[in-house]
């Protein structure tokens, strides 16, 4: 495998312009003759399909849900970034670029990130033209807020439903193309395999989720926009149908997988309230601005609370441990996400957790006293209401409970500047690729990236690939390659349905999630990773012996769907662990306890690890091989100052200690061995 990132020559700010000026184009009469498959109808997939369809290509688009509008992007709350500088607060393409590179802890490709910042403004224009009802100020112009680590207000939002509104915008233009006949929609269809013919991606095998039938689709190019793999951890903020399988089957067919160990954890989720829970709900991190985080000081109290014998309000002030304020007096409850997450887990692991044992309190009593209930309600009313609906507890009267959870995956299919994977003709967009966020993603940047990829990057770069495809003619789906792929899928499904054990798929998925969360979650070390590796292998063996999948493959069968996704997660888990093991440094969302500063912060090793780790599949159970793509910073100066990362979709106070990136020096030493 040879990695060629295809970064255009020339100064950073001119690369994209130069690329567009010299790339190959497909003339309008020929576009009709070219077929494109897009898998996924989230922001990335819907925007790509709509744009490509409008240009005149023949597009087939696929999704698991019953409508394109239900892709997981719908759930994004907070907002979308763009370097518009509408607030005249000093924002610019250059600044958004720098923030993103820095936020990613210098593990992203300069040229891609610059392009992302460059096209960000056009995304907002596009969305407004589509009728996306962004928040406005009283003069009728667009409103912004400050978000996740930015010193400027560049986040556009539509109530707490930004993802929904952006997706409905993209779904609208997609619907228009469907009506015009340029795009054909296939819902309740799951991609099961990629078909590669003579080294190029030429089609997919899909399973019709209603009938169970396997179907073949052939095309000149395939776009994968299937989202992230956060559900590997079982409990995450992702939707139930989010999965890593589409990317993984491409990986099996030869597409390199980059930086799998970079996963993001969000500290303020509503905790699990029992073993039956299937996912976690995210709450805005802005809550930490006024809430105080604590657990009982005495273990007996924690136990009594867990047993339901004591109420948090009955614990006197002196018996409460405001552990963030205690440990990090300078920053208190506003320590960065990763620090807050690790500290919560530490307290709970030590036996001080409340609720089910995996929760800490976020208390607004002081804020209500200081600001009055009205002010608190004005600021957080909708979040409090959401919390109350879910937990049936009134946060005005009793403290909220929170716990960290997996939220986003920075790793994904390796792509070059054109968003093409290592398989020619296979492109990857949105959360499914590894591209622009390095080791950590800034808040409100995932939506931006998905739409940038779909509206403004793929429609150009794919033409460069497709220009000479006009000579190959229609791609047939009756070739031996398609036969073989279909047979393989059928065998795979049959194997699963005939195991005949006695445990459910969820039983194994939960167990896998627990292993990954414990040993390859927010903090990792050689020992824990070794342990994880062993446990995952054991679990996988057990899965093949004792899972039970009712029904058969020729019908609607949700248990079977879960099973084949889980089967892929077993392999993916091993790769995440290997990647985490090999990266002997801490950066962004990857925290190795062996590599931390005296203050307990991430300690990068730029000399040895300033590269993208791209892994190549070698067969089931075989260790994968790794190719490095060195990251060269020509434009930006790499800062060796300890870097604090602010992650996704939580607001951050626009004032306060976080302005000062060196504040972490004051932090007390963390607690990991």
């Amino acid at each position: 495998m040879k990695l060629d990132s295809k970064i255009p020559a020339g100064p950073l700010a001119e690369k994209w312009t130069n690329y567009k000026a010299s790339q190959k184009l497909v003339n309008p009469a020929n576009k009709r003759k070219l077929d494109i498959i897009v898998v996924g109808t989230g922001l990335a997939g819907a925007s790509a399909a709509a744009s490509l369809g409008a240009m005149g290509f023949n597009v087939d688009i696929f999704c698991i849900q019953d409508s394109p509008r239900r892709a997981h992007s719908i759930a994004a709350q907070g907002g979308i970034n763009a370097a518009k500088n509408y607030q005249n607060d000093g924002d610019s393409v250059e600044r958004l670029f720098r923030d993103t590179i820095k936020g990613g802890d210098y593990r992203a490709r300069e040229a891609n990130v610059y392009r992302l910042a460059e096209v960000s403004g056009a995304i907002i224009d596009q969305c407004v033209a589509q009728g996306v009802p962004f928040a406005r100020d009283y003069g009728g112009l667009l409103d912004n807020r400050s978000f996740g680590g930015a010193q400027v207000s560049r986040t556009f939002y539509a109530k707490g439903q930004t993802g929904q509104q952006l997706l409905l915008g993209a779904y609208g233009v997609l619907s228009r193309e469907i009506a015009r006949g340029t795009v054909k929609l296939h819902t309740r269809c799951e991609m099961m395999d990629l078909v590669v013919v003579e080294g190029r991606a030429r089609g997919i095998i899909v399973r019709n989720l209603v009938t169970g039938d396997l179907e073949r689709y052939a095309a000149h190019a395939v776009v994968l926009a299937t989202g992230g793999y956060g559900n590997l951890y079982y409990l995450s903020t992702n939707a139930m149908n989010s999965n890593g399988s589409a990317a993984w089957v491409c990986h099996r067919k030869g597409a390199a997988f980059a930086n799998p160990c970079y996963v993001q954890i969000h500290p303020t989720c509503i905790p699990v309230h029992g073993d039956y829970q299937s996912k976690l709900t995210l709450m805005s991190e802005s809550l930490r601005n006024d809430g105080r985080i604590w657990v009982p000081k005495k273990k007996e109290d924690a136990e009594a609370i867990r047993a339901g014998k004591l109420k948090p309000t009955e614990i006197p002030e002196e018996n409460r441990d405001y552990y963030l304020e205690r440990r990090y007096p300078a920053f208190g409850n506003l320590v960065p996400r990763d620090v807050a997450s690790r500290a919560a887990k530490e307290r709970c692991d030590a036996g001080y957790g409340v609720g089910t044992g995996y929760a800490v309190y976020l208390d607004f009593a002081d804020a209500i006293q200081r600001l009055g209930k009205d002010v608190v309600e004005q600021k957080y009313g909708n979040l409090f209401q959401m919390y109350q609906k879910i937990t049936d507890e009134n946060p005005y009267e009793t403290p909220m409970m929170i716990y960290p959870a997996i939220h986003y995956t920075m790793g994904g299919l390796w792509v070059d500047y054109e968003l093409q994977t290592t398989i020619p003709g296979l492109f990857a967009a949105g959360e499914a690729n590894f591209s622009d966020h390095g080791a950590n993603r800034l808040g409100a940047s995932a939506l931006m990236q998905g739409l940038a990829d779909g509206y403004f990057v793929l429609p150009y770069t794919m033409q460069n690939y497709l220009a000479d495809q006009i000579y190959v003619g229609k791609i047939s789906s009756t070739t031996p390659e398609f036969d073989k792929a279909e047979v393989a899928v059928r065998e795979r499904l049959n194997k699963l349905t005939t195991i005949g054990g006695d445990k459910t798929v969820d039983h194994f998925h939960k167990a896998l999630g627990k292993i990954m969360w414990e040993y390859c979650g927010m903090a990792r070390n050689t020992e824990s990773l070794n342990k994880a590796k062993k446990l995952v292998s054991q679990l996988e063996d057990e899965f093949w012996k004792s899972v039970f999948i009712p029904g058969n493959a020729n019908e609607m069968n949700p248990e079977l769907e879960k099973a084949y996704r889980l089967e892929d997660y077993f392999e993916l888990a091993q790769l995440v662990i290997d990647d985490a093991m090999h990266r002997e440094e801490s950066c962004g969302g990857h925290f190795r306890t062996e590599h931390q500063t005296e203050d307990g912060e991430t300690l990068r090793d730029d000399e040895h690890f300033m590269y993208v780790a791209a892994w190549e599949y070698q067969g089931h159970g075989q260790p994968e091989t790794m190719e490095k793509e060195p990251l060269v910073y020509e434009h930006i100066q790499v800062s060796h100052e300890v870097h604090i990362t602010y992650l996704a979709s939580g607001e951050r106070p626009s004032q306060g200690p976080f302005r000062d990136l060196s504040f972490g020096r004051h932090l007390a030493r963390l607690f990991f061995p």
Partner: protein, 216 residues
């Protein structure tokens, strides 16, 4: 609850698990939709099925769960219905015709805040179909009204407004959705609390389109 039921059914090898649609589990994707004890999304206001908690029931209660009952939403299996009719209505014109690129700068289209807020409220529809399921006539007026209102309230949406409402209403009728008889069960059951005023706006737009000149 259904997860647990299914886990039991599988564990005990009793029967095929019950198929039901679900995805985000936080009330925004619109995938889940069940008739629970005679009400779409169950006995609570402003929530979807996935947000209905077992604590709303008493120990030992019988719970009746049915799929959406409406002719335009045929049952696929168990509790899963086919709602593609909604997509077809949107495809008929529920959008603003734009293609990528070549649009003006976002701030060249100022929109009064209260209008933008009203558009946003209408746009919060999640397309779950509870309004249709609740209606004795299986009317889709609230769904269509919400989309028509969202776009008609914005200057960008004015240009095609007459054409849009005409096409969407025709499509709605063609797909077999019934008429509105103003009982507003739809409003009462909407998990996103979409207002009936959107239906009035739809009617005004529709009449305007019938007599107006802008239609193609």
């Amino acid at each position: 609850m259904l997860d647990i039921l299914n886990e039991q059914l599988v564990n005990d090898h009793i029967a095929h698990p019950v198929c039901f649609d679900n995805d985000c589990r936080e009330g925004i994707c619109g995938m889940c939709g069940l008739y629970i004890n005679g009400r779409p999304h169950g006995n609570d206001d402003g929530i979807t099925t996935c947000q209905l908690h077992m604590r709303k029931f008493h120990d030992g209660d019988d719970i009746w769960i049915e799929p959406w009952r409406a002719k335009p939403f045929p049952v696929i299996r168990d509790l899963v219905v086919d709602r593609s009719a909604f997509d077809k209505i949107i495809q008929a014109g529920g959008y603003i015709s734009t293609t990528t690129g070549g649009v003006p700068d976002a701030n060249t289209i100022p929109i009064p805040k209260h209008k933008a807020d009203m558009a946003m409220d209408a746009a919060s529809c999640i397309g779950c179909g509870a309004c249709v399921a609740a209606c004795k006539n299986a009317s889709a007026m609230l769904f269509v009204g919400a989309k028509v209102s969202h776009l008609a309230l914005l200057p960008q949406g004015q240009i095609e407004a007459a054409d849009r409402v005409h096409k969407m209403v025709c499509k709605m009728d063609e797909l077999g959705f019934g008429s509105c008889t103003n009982t507003y069960a739809c409003e009462a059951e909407c998990p996103k609390l979409i207002k009936r005023q959107n239906i009035s706006r739809l009617n005004r737009q529709w009449i305007g389109a019938l007599f107006g000149r802008d239609r193609k």
